[in-house]
Symmetry: C2
Subunit: 493 residues, 2 copies
Amino acid sequence: MAKELKNLTKRADNYSQWYNELVVKADLAEQSAVRGCMVIKPYGYAIWEKMQHELDSMFKQSGVQNAYFPLLIPKSFLSKEADHVEGFAKECAVVTHYRLMNDPNGKGVVVDPSARLEEELIIRPTSETIIWNTYRNWINSYRDLPLLVNQWANVFRWEMRTRLFLRTAEFLWQEGHTAHASKEEAQDKAIEMLNVYGDFAERFMALPVVKGVKTANERFAGALETYTIEAMMQDGKALQSGTSHFLGQNFAKAFDVKFINKDNQLDYVWATSWGVSTRLMGALIMTHSDDNGLVLPPKLAPIQVVIVPVYKSMEQLEQVNAVVDPIVAKLRAMGVSVKYDNADNKRPGFKFADYELKGVPVRLVLGARDIEAGTVEVMRRDTLEKHVAPLEGIEEYVKNLLDEIQNNIFTKALNHRESLTYKVDTWEEFKEQIEKGGFILAHWDGTTETEEKIKEETKATIRCIPMDAEEEEGKCIYTGKPSKRRVIFARNY
Amino acid sequence: MAKELKNLTKRADNYSQWYNELVVKADLAEQSAVRGCMVIKPYGYAIWEKMQHELDSMFKQSGVQNAYFPLLIPKSFLSKEADHVEGFAKECAVVTHYRLMNDPNGKGVVVDPSARLEEELIIRPTSETIIWNTYRNWINSYRDLPLLVNQWANVFRWEMRTRLFLRTAEFLWQEGHTAHASKEEAQDKAIEMLNVYGDFAERFMALPVVKGVKTANERFAGALETYTIEAMMQDGKALQSGTSHFLGQNFAKAFDVKFINKDNQLDYVWATSWGVSTRLMGALIMTHSDDNGLVLPPKLAPIQVVIVPVYKSMEQLEQVNAVVDPIVAKLRAMGVSVKYDNADNKRPGFKFADYELKGVPVRLVLGARDIEAGTVEVMRRDTLEKHVAPLEGIEEYVKNLLDEIQNNIFTKALNHRESLTYKVDTWEEFKEQIEKGGFILAHWDGTTETEEKIKEETKATIRCIPMDAEEEEGKCIYTGKPSKRRVIFARNY
């Protein structure tokens, strides 16, 4: 068994360490020489590319076009929207100079003090400000609306405590920024895009999510409403996986973006923004993987099927090759990504462990004896079950198995979430339950004050007010004041 | 006719202004609030996405995988490779601080002086340094090689004079960085990737290019050899459209990247890097477009076919819709991107001018009389010729026409280049010809000194030593010293 695999910490022993090790051992990402910035390695990037591809198609189907806006934002832009500056103008990377020069006192280069910028530039932590400053010139009349634009970009937020994918100073994301002629249309768009995220998470990532509304306290800086998809990790903690914001006319007012409406009146434009990031990689890894390594949903796996030959002679290998080649061709023609690993410099046992670690959903093992018997050994990564299947029709069999795995890991994650979701009605029970992890459905009096006290005492935050929450008369878990529906509390990443 | 189109400067009047106006009027890009940084608008970005898609497929076919490396580079990294620091450590964006704070003297935010970085960080102008610093941990043995990695990224070089797409402070590009066990393999890879660029330029952009080697003086900072594809614009100036570098062991030595070779000896790793950028957008625009606007090669056009109805009543429009809908469906099924513009708020004349400006390769116009006659009016953007074609089989007809346009604009550009390529043997003739533009094939004595004198006196640079240059005894155009082959001189972007 491969050394890397043997050394993987078990989830039960230290979930956090298991995650950190797995990201590195499975060749997904690693720390770079720049504090808080990660290198996304080819195998990890291939998964991210698949996510991008699916999301991008979904955006385009909803009428969104891609564009690209500048990396750097004038410092003064951040101050134009009052809430936004509070949220984003603090921990950020500041460009102050535009030139280096040879060090007059020695080797290397130093900042040229004469090349100081008149106004400092900030590496974008998010792009509402520069984009709305641009939209001012794009929008004159209701005929220019809606404007539905997205960009795939890197952003930067100076974070003190970083973890690969989950919280890094630089990360990759997409940010959609739409402009509308009416409040209703903008609100609908914000919810439409949240639903896109929800569909993507469930259909491609096999990640069950709760869709909901954030409390005022947890809103995006500058938004009137923030919608979220919240997922539960295996340790019972919540991970916010995507957000969509209804921004009202805040940014239009800050950047003076007006339009002539159908009644020939000047009005400010209505806005949304919405984003998901490489943080989704963290959610994907933490939701499905196990003590043997990654478990990937077939729809996002860079390699869906690996075929490993077992043989005692080159003659036997050639025999196996002859059987495998047409299987590979047929699987590829069916749109299945398959790798035939007949490299001679690694033993089958090493290969098995390596592909388990990397989360390849299906493994086929084939030797001379199998060929005689007309069978093949099939291993599915999600359950690690092995069984023997007929060679005849193996391609259809594998295709169906991939669908089954996709469904199975979704169901498993959903069952896990449901088994760790509790209705709680007393403060004592709340404090006890939160220590064990999971989602707590409880009544809350609707005030930020109570929300913050609960957080102080238990480290639990309100993840969201679920969109499908039933109306139910109740009493706040903390103050006993009246409440009309339950919200979700959890500790979170 | 649309106002925007009427106002487009003619190429003959002012080629440079024609370009600047066209980029903006055709909705490709615009200047941003940040000096030297552009906004790539949705229509321009859609073309860039098509380029990315094709290039990315070609890279993957050659075994290259994508990854992502940090945006910021520690200042000291730039100094590690002696030539590299000279080339790249001067005009760059320097991050010195990691926090802003509320201005104690008033409104807005200021840099927090206490949040100064110990070592400044540079926004990557190119990523050799951070990537080779990473490769040190990825490479131990020849078994880890070759390493074939590419990233799609934004880069930043502080430019004083900028032009949209051609020279911007921030630009988008891909940078490939490969690591090899032998000199020969690295050299071959550098040339292989140059050929990928050449194929892409010619097959997709319809851009004829000369492949060649740069002189020592024009090499990438840190390379032992730089290969280039050079294209000629309509004004006879050259545009360097892509480069591929053989880096020898320079970066391996600077970042101490060694491997154990097959003979069990430690050796430094051999390297290449290669890149193309959004500058290709400039090449595309300048090569094919005319006084009416953009001309796009069908293979990269976001909209390949536009269909415009002419009608006098809603009843007629419905008649046309009924004929057009199945044509649209069939074209899409054939993989043709088609837009049916039956919007009622713009007149056909406005639409015609707008789609001409945007370079849509084929326009179909259909009215009640055409339907009666079973015909349709076809306009091809490259020649602006209109003719009538039978409705029956129009889809196949259009498909073939798109191929014909793709070939025609390539041939046109090739003929143009050939008509402006001159063999010149005297210095007098050289000085006269260079004023008229075009490529000059002339002998050169091989020294940097002569190259620089020629540049001083004529503003002509050596674009490359063509790879297919025939051996030919001759005398240097400037010094009369012996030379073995002609090189290409031109003024350039």
